[in-house]
Symmetry: C2
Subunit: 261 residues, 2 copies
């Protein structure tokens, strides 16, 4: 039996904590945790039964994987300070692989999920989007990723950028619509609790169905009377009226395209 | 013990079927099912152990509740043909109470949930939005509604119209964003399965959290570099680019408003 891959975690935020624990729980020896703030590194290192560093020149140089769990804006800068032998991997959906080009073996393992302190979904259900700069590196990362998640997909940097864009539309923009709905309800003395079951049900359905086939509401029915009434109800909120108009038109266009097929 | 309220169901579609069964299961005697297509009425009536009618002049006139489970566009017409004594109730979110004004005791019991043949959420978890034209009628409907759902709310026709608008934004528009995301993924040879866990997680979080407090992504971070890159990636899809722009601007505006507070 070959021995488990060894790991160094660079960073101490949500992603570092969530994945550090997952790696540790899966039996991988964590060789070190780095953070520029030694107290942050120490907190996470204690959980992962390993040593903490606040200097990149002191971290072990012979681990198999160096995971950069950092803000997009500092990945390049930190990676350029690393002088180590293993595979350097970042977690970012919106950052190209080649930002790590000053190293020989580089990769990406992007978790396509929202991960915050209070909500840590089970790692095995998080899609991990993997890329490496050569076949052997890619295979090493794929093999590793598959040992902690059931949903591992290989994709290149262009695909990852579009997947990130799709995630922004599906997640951030929907959440903004939830926020607008909550506000409309509040201004009419109604509680957002009223909408929570509907939001949950829509997301539950889409786990098995194709969203294109489950659209309902006035726009897809081309019920222009209701669409226009609702637009008028938004007269006081020109920004929301614009959102309503743009999305309704797009639903109607999509429907008309389909009908022509 | 007073005897259970008696019910006539007008209609035989999804809502008629879903609520007909719920009323029956809750122990209410269903006196009749009406549909203009006798075979549809017969199918549902068989499930509810009652009689089927395709003529409105023949239905029993002494039930306590007449539930009109009909398309918005025919509620008025059908209600005007009814000559009965009980409370007349429609299920529509987007239809005023006063459309039933030719009757003395009228009301609304709008289920704020998406109900299709394949997905029938548990009735007790469906918010029922109730209105009546006088206190005694309202109380009768409220009491009845509370016997089948744990989430009964009284609201007037204006509130209901705004709740319906909020539901369109939270449900139909989000679903459209899911559809656009699926399309973007497909055109880059990626499967929509990648996004399903994220969509589910976002909806799960919003069950307990306020959407305004859980926004993430480039717009709320005012990461204009990413916003502009993603806008450029949508150059081939002017309609989606417009949606991206309008929603990102709205997220940024909301954030700036909050920061000023």
């Amino acid at each position: 039996m070959k021995s488990a891959a060894t790991i160094v975690i660079i960073g101490s935020g949500n992603i570092a904590t969530c994945f550090g624990k997952a790696f540790y729980d899966a039996g991988y020896p964590i060789q070190a945790v780095y953070s520029q703030h030694i107290e942050h590194a120490t907190t996470l290192a204690a959980q992962l039964k390993t040593q903490a560093f606040s200097s990149l020149t002191l971290i072990p140089t012979d681990a198999d994987f160096y995971f950069l769990a950092l803000k997009d804006s500092v990945i390049k800068e930190v990676s350029e300070q690393l002088n180590v032998n293993g595979i350097i991997i970042h977690f970012s959906g919106n950052t190209s692989l080649d930002i790590l080009n000053n190293h020989k073996k580089i990769g990406v393992m992007w978790p396509l999920q929202t991960i915050t302190k209070n909500y840590q979904p089970e790692i095995k259900n998080i899609p991990l989007c993997v890329e490496g700069n050569n076949e052997s590196t890619t295979n090493s990362i794929l093999e590793f990723a598959k040992s902690i998640s059931n949903k591992v997909v290989e994709m290149n940097s262009t695909q990852r950028k579009f997947a990130h864009l799709a995630a922004v539309m599906a997640n951030n923009f929907s959440n903004h619509l939830f926020e607008i709905s909550a506000q409309i309800l509040k201004e009419h003395n109604l509680d957002f609790d009223l909408l929570r079951p509907l939001i949950f049900e829509t997301a539950r359905k889409v786990q098995h169905e194709n969203p294109a086939e489950m659209q309902t509401g006035p726009a897809i029915r081309e019920d222009l009377k209701t669409v226009n009434e609702q637009l008028e109800m938004l007269n006081e909120y020109p920004e929301y009226k614009n959102i309503y108009e743009v999305l309704s038109k797009s639903i109607i266009n999509q429907y008309q395209l389909k009908s022509k097929k």
